[in-house]
């Protein structure tokens, strides 16, 4: 697989994609992770991302969009630099997940799937993130934060505001 000329991705991501497509018996198998990694790189799945991924996998753009619309983590609009995802599913709900969500809404001044004016934060109410025994829990980008209290949430948001938050990618 030759490297795409004028790739829209960073050289690291482009190289990763060159490698990724070689791992599977069928190239298309790289599509789902590729969309997510592209989103990590660009911030969202833009039209240009769809075009390049389709080109890399020899797919129609329609095929890519068809898959894109299925997965809940993929978005076609930019989120904040730090996407705060609060779980309100049953185990979190029982231990105050909705209070945590409301606290985030109040603190950030935004609602579900909205972005702050400075584009630093976005907020999402999400389904179970697999941290039920350490509820209530949330993820900031990919980083897990659990056993949350409103005070703890304030501290976490402040850490990110100061650019000191961990950013797993």
């Amino acid at each position: 697989m030759s490297t795409i000329t004028n790739s829209i991705f960073t050289p690291e991501t482009a190289a990763r994609f060159d490698h990724l497509v070689t791992l599977y018996p069928v190239k298309r198998s790289a599509l789902v992770p590729m969309l997510l990694y592209a989103q990590d790189d660009i911030g969202y799945v833009s039209d240009a991302v769809v075009t390049e991924i389709a080109q890399r996998l020899d797919l129609l753009e329609l095929d890519v969009r068809n898959v894109l619309s299925y997965y809940s983590m993929l978005r076609t609009k930019p989120a904040g630099k730090y996407n705060v995802q609060v779980c309100t599913n049953i185990s979190c709900m029982l231990r105050g997940g909705y209070e945590i969500l409301d606290h985030c809404k109040h603190k950030l001044g935004i609602g579900h799937k909205e972005v702050t004016a400075d584009k630093l934060f976005s907020l999402e109410e999400v389904e179970c993130i697999g941290a039920c025994c350490w509820a209530p829990a949330m993820q900031v980008n990919y980083d897990f934060h659990d056993n949350l209290t409103p005070v703890k949430v304030d501290e976490i948001l402040q850490t990110y505001r100061e650019g000191k938050g961990k950013d797993v990618k």
């Binding site: 018996p25 309100t88 025994c133 056993n147």
Partner: protein, 442 residues
């Protein structure tokens, strides 16, 4: 990050390396790592596959994803000779609300997942395995990727594994957010780069699976159990559990308990003891109202119904399921109307829309319970919710429709009076929301 917990009643088989730094390959090897796969290979090329399958059958291990299908039998269904390549697929798309056990396995013992994948590969004659983790588990994917890279660097994966003459490769894969992909055929679709919609069965994956080849697909916990079983012997493992339910499993106890956490208990362990002894009882001394015993899809149990053994058969007899081992405990303060609505809202969100009974059923139950919750419900709503749920059961390609219907039926049957009282109590001054308003509000 998960907090590890401990209780004297635990029997640590699968979790015996937890908290010991076994994500490091040297530590894993020091703690008997990669011995099971070598033990299997030492049986010789002729006997290896049958020895593994016989041992797995003797262990009584049943699928930890929730269906409880005997693992050894599943592996034996894969045809010995196949024109198309065979695959091992590890399901780490852990998404059932209340379930976070695989989270701990990937974090604390990633090499056990790799070794188990290799063992499954040797048992069915496959040369390639995939380990699929849900997209949200990025930090765990990193841990798995490093573990796989370390195993390759030692020559444990790749060409001629442990001098067996057999090649075996593992690829780790990330999802991108979809509960439905935890269903085996939907997971294969996702791994083929498609929307995660289920396939009709038969043919079953053992015959026609990933890329059309025979495929064994197991939950991550099932796979991680295999090395322990081969090392200790099938019979010894079986003895730890109850009748026809071999071994131990990870139970995630969450909700209103004093000490929530992931505990490894023998199959058949008493549910009441699990809640009151192991997890320390109901939080803040409150009274127990209900228990969702095996993840959100399992019908609810009342306090008087929880003196029951935690295995697939006993839970079935109690009218519910062992499921994925996620025990969610509700205290007296919980509104079942709200809880039932939150549960169906989840399944409505996650229904892939492929089968109409599930797509429409989850949506209408959610709409109806929404109006009940908001005080605009009519008396007929409870019966209507039951009618909708009953008509979803068994009418879909995959079990998501059932997974949404079963807990709903449990709530409306066991807490009917609470629903009726709620509707009555919230009616004053609130006009009934019409169908037109419901549809418009979609």
């Amino acid at each position: 990050m998960p907090t590890l917990v401990s209780h004297p009643d635990e029997v640590k088989v699968l979790s015996r390396r937890f908290g010991k730094g076994a994500a490091d390959i040297d530590k894993y090897i020091e703690l008997d790592g990669y011995k099971a796969v070598q033990k299997a290979i030492a049986e010789g090329p002729d006997k290896m596959a049958s020895w593994i399958i016989d041992t797995m059958k003797a262990s009584g291990l049943r699928g930890r994803g929730g269906a409880g299908f005997p693992t050894g039998m599943k592996w034996s269904f894969v045809p010995k000779v196949s024109e198309k390549p065979k695959y091992v697929l590890v399901n780490g798309d852990e998404s059932e609300p209340g379930t976070c056990k695989d989270h701990v396995i990937f974090l604390e013992d990633p090499h056990a997942v790799i070794e188990g994948t290799m063992i499954a590969g040797l048992a069915i004659g496959s040369k390639m395995g995939f380990i699929y983790l849900r997209g949200e588990y990025r930090y765990l994917l990193k841990i798995m990727e490093k573990a796989v890279a370390d195993a390759y660097a030692r020559g444990f994966l790749g060409k001629n594994i442990f001098g067996s003459g057999i090649d075996f490769d593992i690829v780790t894969q990330s999802g991108a957010g979809a509960y439905e992909v935890g269903e085996e055929s939907a997971l294969m679709e996702s791994l083929e780069g498609k929307r995660g919609v289920p396939r009709i069965k038969p043919p079953f994956p053992a015959v026609v699976g990933l890329y059309g080849g025979p495929t064994v697909i197991n939950n991550a916990e099932t796979i991680a159990s295999a090395p322990h079983i081969l090392l200790m012997g099938g019979e010894a493992y079986a003895k730890l559990g109850s009748e026809r339910n071999g071994g131990t499993r990870l139970f995630g106890i969450s909700g209103h308990v004093e000490r929530p956490g992931v505990y490894e208990l023998p199959m058949g362990y008493n549910l009441k003891k699990a809640i009151y002894d192991v997890a320390g009882g109901i939080k803040d001394g409150k009274k127990l109202k209900a228990v969702v015993p095996g993840g959100a899809s399992c019908p609810v149990l009342l306090p008087e119904e929880i003196d029951v053994g935690l295995d697939f058969d006993q839970m079935g007899k109690a009218g519910t399921m062992l499921g994925s081992g996620g025990i969610v405990v509700l205290d007296e303060t919980v509104s079942i109307v709200e809880f039932a609505l939150r549960t169906i809202a989840f399944y409505q969100h996650e229904s892939c829309g492929w089968c109409i009974p599930c797509r429409e059923g989850t949506d209408w139950i959610k709409k109806t319970l929404t109006r009940v919750y908001n005080g605009g419900g009519s008396k007929k709503d409870v019966a209507n919710v039951q009618y909708l749920a009953e008509n979803m059961m068994g009418r879909t390609f995959c079990p998501l429709g059932d997974a949404a219907a079963m807990p709903t039926l449990g709530f409306v049957k066991k807490f009917r009076k609470e629903f009726e009282d709620y509707i009555e109590g919230h009616k004053a001054g609130t006009p009934i929301i019409t169908v037109e308003q419901l549809v418009g509000a979609h």
